[in-house]
């Protein structure tokens, strides 16, 4: 089960970001530095290939913060395998993606 996927450098970056704990589209952009017009088509493609799976955030969480629920993405085992393969190809991958999710601290008065 090795999908014929065109594993580009940006695709590898997105996978890497997913393993590092960035689960939402805009967060992945922040982590990889890729523009939204690149990140989203990659996510759609990886989703279609089964390298990641997506789901909606729990409505309770979103309601508590008074905003609509966000869609989050998680890497699958296939995705992990793919990433390992990619890591061979792109040596700089490790440095290219931010470490831990950078969280802007929500401010509550």
């Amino acid at each position: 089960m090795s999908p014929r996927l065109n594993l580009t450098y940006p695709t590898a970056l997105v996978l890497q970001a997913l393993t590092r704990g960035f689960h939402y589209g805009f967060d992945i952009m922040d982590a990889t530095g890729l523009p939204s017009g690149t990140v989203y088509p990659i996510l759609r493609r990886l989703d279609g290939e089964g390298l990641l799976k997506s789901a909606w955030e729990k409505p309770v969480t979103a309601q508590r913060e008074q905003r609509p629920p966000r869609r989050y993405y998680e890497i699958t085992a296939t995705g992990e395998a793919m990433l390992a393969e990619a890591a061979q190809r792109f040596r700089v991958l490790d440095q290219a993606v931010a470490r831990a999710p950078r969280r802007l601290k929500p401010f509550r008065a």
Binding site: S36, G37, Y40, G48, R71
Partner: protein
């Protein structure tokens, strides 16, 4: 879910997502939009919460939202076989990126037009389309007194006329009056004056408003001696009672008496019947007074009526005309030539609004016209440039439909971007207009841009761009693939372009003439001498009729207050007057005038005068020059013989060829005849506006005829606000519970009186400036385009010996032909349309030659300057390079 509206930048991003979502396949559209919405909102919340919202982060968010477009395009390609569309969109985007100047100018031009239109449509929607906040609003009429001699003016209503109209008419289901009556409120941090009205029975039924909290007045509360009850405005409830939900049955202190609050009116209630509708207002029931049926000469009531079912405004007006005629026969002395005038509520609310608004609408339509012409010319020019591209694609097998589709896709992209930018500009413009608008423009602050207007804007742009974007494609496909051989620009298309630019010049001229006339008129108005020097003068108005009612007490109070103000350091002169020029709420007292020793004029031919009470210091504080005789003096005491100073307007009317000093006049004062000797004449004093002629006026000394409603006037040095504060302290040092209403600098009062003119002028000038810029851009675009097209020809000419002056002349002459044609057409247009400005102009003709000349020169010069740049570029053509093309 969200309690208040989202900020504009966020709404724009969401709008973009929403527009783009059309591309996403239907099956996943909802999810797709939910995901993007959530991400954008989440980001916004994060930024807002950490205080990181500035223009940079906003731009970044917008850029991220732009990513929705490739995302949507990608999905479209995945889920349908329609790869062409995606290809078109991508190609379109690439073409737009490749020509950034074109894209930027097209987007900007369209966005300006859309922004203006959206803003004005939002205003029109608020004023004309949204329902009024009254039950069956179209059945409500306001009723005024109309005089046959001044049919265009609406006067307030006399109590006796009101009573007769109400008892004799059949056309109304409710007929009620509202009597302006201010109240001193002492429950707040400092004593203040609340705008108030006493309303007759059935007022709230007539106007169709029920209190938001509590109830309206009961029948028995309109009886003399009933308990004191009051309905308060929403603003008062919010600001002075902190929106207390249990407000009903609490008491409020008005004029030092406790009143019971029975209701709070809704926020939307603004009937605009008072000269200045206060945010802080109280409404009290009015009991009929025994004197009401006798007062016919003084008119100060406002009347509102509700048409009975099935009765039209015209029928009711006919009935009132008949009733008025009978009343005039019964009371020839007061009512000859007077009749009742019915004005539907909406029309009344529009009042002074419609004309400036129509002006703006016209201006915006013209700017939009220029914008469309500009983009059309740009697109046409681009079409010519791309003939070769089309020719190649067509030669490679692209069909006509395919080419057209591609152009439509491109135009669509252009419209989407322009619509988003335009809506942003429109929201900004709307805010600016609302901030600028004179306060008489009601309900404007409720205006907002909503989905309908955005849809309107989107449709407008799509129509423009697609219509003109298609022309090149259709023209090309008509000519088939000749483009590869022939590089000649089509003659008809060139003519169409030139005509478009000439039209731009013409429209710009119309706008510039309008703006020029308004500016000139405003300058004239500013140079009018008001008859006093407003610089350094401040005023503070009080209504002391209740607190210092008895004549002796009134005399003491005002004398002490004026003396204390006068004694303040930095104050040069101080006084008090009953009717302050340019003040918002004056008590204007009119009286008939009798000159001792002259026969009394026949009934209906009496000419009255205004009666104003003043203290001696008033004239010095205002720097009102003395014409002849003397001013009022402190020696004119209670015990001295009664004296009067008259205005120059009255002297010109009654004593055109002789001196009035020493003559005796008789006037009515509070129901009594008083006789006074004229001792002096003061200059013309403009009272209600710089464009309104000075009024005939008799000034009488306060010491001899004490009056309770006076405005203190002080001329001083230094900061007017500090002076106002010190004057207020002096008044409170005598009576700490005296409320002070409307303290202001006189300069501000005079400036405020010009608000409407300033508004019209500013708006018109802004539109004219945009038009001029667009027009210059248009001329530049067309000339540089044709010059580029003619590079080959210019090269040949230069090779054959034409010098650079000849080339420059050639290019400039093409430009000047277009400009001249535009100016000629524009002049005709301006002469026709500027007539609509007539009522806004002050002492200036709508065909003012100076304005026309200046504006034509300006536009011509700007146009030629716009031609000059490409003309110079043409002279630098290197014949060798030019001839080597092809």
């Amino acid at each position: 879910m969200r309690p208040h509206r989202d900020p504009l930048a966020l709404r724009l991003c969401l709008l973009l997502v929403r527009l783009v979502s059309v591309i996403v396949p239907t099956a996943s559209r909802e999810d797709w939009r939910a995901e993007w919405d959530a991400e954008v909102r989440w980001r916004w919340d994060q930024l807002a919460a950490s205080g990181a919202l500035d223009w940079r982060t906003r731009m970044d968010l917008f850029r991220r939202a732009m990513g929705a477009l490739p995302d949507a395009a990608w999905l479209r390609r995945q889920f349908t076989a329609d790869a062409d569309l995606v290809h078109d969109l991508r190609h379109g985007l690439r073409m737009l990126m490749k020509a950034p100047t074109f894209t930027l100018s097209a987007v900007l031009v369209l966005a300006l037009g859309i922004g203006g239109t959206v803003a004005i449509v939002a205003l029109l929607d608020t004023l004309f389309i949204r329902p009024l906040p009254y039950t069956d609003a179209e059945r409500i009429v306001t009723v005024w007194t109309r005089s046959a001699s001044r049919p265009s003016e609406r006067d307030d209503v006399a109590p006796a006329d009101f009573l007769d109209w109400r008892s004799r008419s059949q056309s109304f289901s409710a007929f009620a009056a509202m009597v302006p009556y201010s109240r001193d409120f002492t429950g707040g941090p400092e004593p203040e004056v609340l705008f108030g009205s006493q309303v007759s029975e059935g007022f709230f039924d007539a106007i169709g408003v029920a209190p938001a909290i509590g109830r309206a007045f009961l029948r028995e509360e309109h009886q003399t001696g009933a308990r004191r009850v009051v309905v308060i405005s929403h603003g008062l409830w919010q600001t002075r009672f902190a929106g207390d939900p249990d407000i009903v049955n609490k008491t409020i202190s008005l004029d030092d008496e406790p009143w019971t609050i029975v209701g709070v009116l809704p926020r939307t209630f603004a009937p605009q019947l008072l000269p200045r509708p206060g945010e802080l207002a109280v409404w009290t029931p009015r009991a009929p007074q025994p004197s009401d049926p006798r007062i016919r000469a003084s008119r100060w009531w406002n009347v509102v009526a509700r048409l009975a079912p099935g009765v039209t405004v015209e029928q009711a007006q006919r009935e009132m005309d008949a009733i008025s005629a009978v009343i005039a026969r019964e009371n020839p002395r007061t009512n000859a030539g007077l009749s009742a005038l019915l004005v539907p509520m909406r029309e009344h609310l529009m009042g002074g609004v419609s004309l400036p608004l129509m002006l703006m609408l016209g201006a915006v339509a013209l700017v939009l016209g220029i914008g469309c012409a500009n983009v059309a010319a740009l697109l046409l020019a681009r079409g010519v440039e791309r003939d070769r591209e089309f020719a190649i694609r067509s030669a490679l097998g692209a069909g006509r439909v395919r080419l057209v589709r591609q152009l439509v896709a491109e135009s669509l992209m252009l419209s989407i971007i322009a619509a988003v930018v335009g809506v942003a500009l429109g929201a900004g413009a709307l805010r600016a207009i609302v901030a600028l608008a004179p306060s008489g423009l009601l309900r404007l602050h409720d205006s907002s841009i909503d989905v309908r207007m955005i849809a309107f804007a989107a449709a407008l742009t799509a129509l423009t761009t697609i219509a003109f974007g298609l022309v090149p494609a259709l023209q090309f496909s008509r000519r088939r693939s000749d483009g590869l051989r022939e590089r000649q620009a089509s003659g008809t298309r060139g003519a169409l372009r030139r005509a478009l630019v000439a039209a731009e010049v013409a429209i710009a001229l119309v706008l510039l003439v309008g703006a020029g006339l308004l500016v000139r008129s405003f300058a004239r108005l500013m140079s009018v001498d008001p008859g006093f020097r407003p610089q350094g003068v401040i005023t503070a108005q009080i209504f002391a009729t209740e607190r210092h009612g008895p004549p002796e007490q009134s005399r003491l109070f005002f004398r002490a207050a004026v003396e204390r103000i006068q004694a303040l350091p930095g104050v040069d002169a101080a006084g008090a007057v009953s009717a302050m020029p340019f003040a918002m709420s004056n008590i204007n007292i009119r009286s008939d005038l009798e000159i001792v020793g002259r026969p009394a004029p026949a009934a209906g031919e009496q000419r009255g005068t205004y009666v104003t009470i003043a203290t001696p210091g008033y004239f010095r504080a205002m720097s009102i020059p003395l014409g002849e005789g003397r001013l009022l003096a402190t020696a004119d005491r209670e015990t001295a013989p009664l004296v009067a100073v008259i205005s120059d307007a009255l002297r010109k009317r009654e004593w055109p060829d002789e001196s009035p000093v020493g003559r005796r006049i008789r006037i009515s004062w509070q129901g009594q005849r008083v006789e006074a000797e004229v001792v002096g004449v003061v200059s013309q004093i403009r009272h209600d506006g710089l464009d309104i002629a000075a009024r005939s006026e008799v000034f009488l000394p306060h010491a001899q005829l004490p009056f309770g409603s006076m405005t203190f006037v002080a001329r001083g040095r230094g900061d007017p606000r500090a002076l106002i504060d010190r004057v207020r302290q002096q008044i409170w040092s005598i009576d700490s519970r005296q409320a002070i209403y409307d303290a202001a600098s006189v300069e501000r009062l005079v400036a405020a009186s010009l608000a409407r003119q300033r508004f019209s002028m500013t708006v018109m000038s802004a539109f004219a400036a945009i038009a001029l810029a667009l027009c210059a851009g248009g001329i530049y675009g067309i000339i540089s385009f044709t010059t580029t097209q003619r590079t080959h020809e210019i090269g040949v000419r230069m090779a054959l010996g034409a010098d650079s002056a000849a080339i420059r002349r050639m290019v400039l002459s093409e430009g000047s032909a277009i400009i001249a044609a535009g100016l000629a057409a524009g002049l005709i247009g301006a002469l026709i349309t500027s007539r609509f400005l007539r009522t806004l102009l002050f002492e200036i003709s709508t065909a003012d030659p100076l304005t026309l000349a200046v504006v034509c020169t300006l536009l011509g010069a700007v146009g030629l300057a716009a031609c000059y740049v490409p003309a110079r570029r043409a002279t630098r053509v290197d014949p060798l390079v030019a001839l080597r093309i092809d």
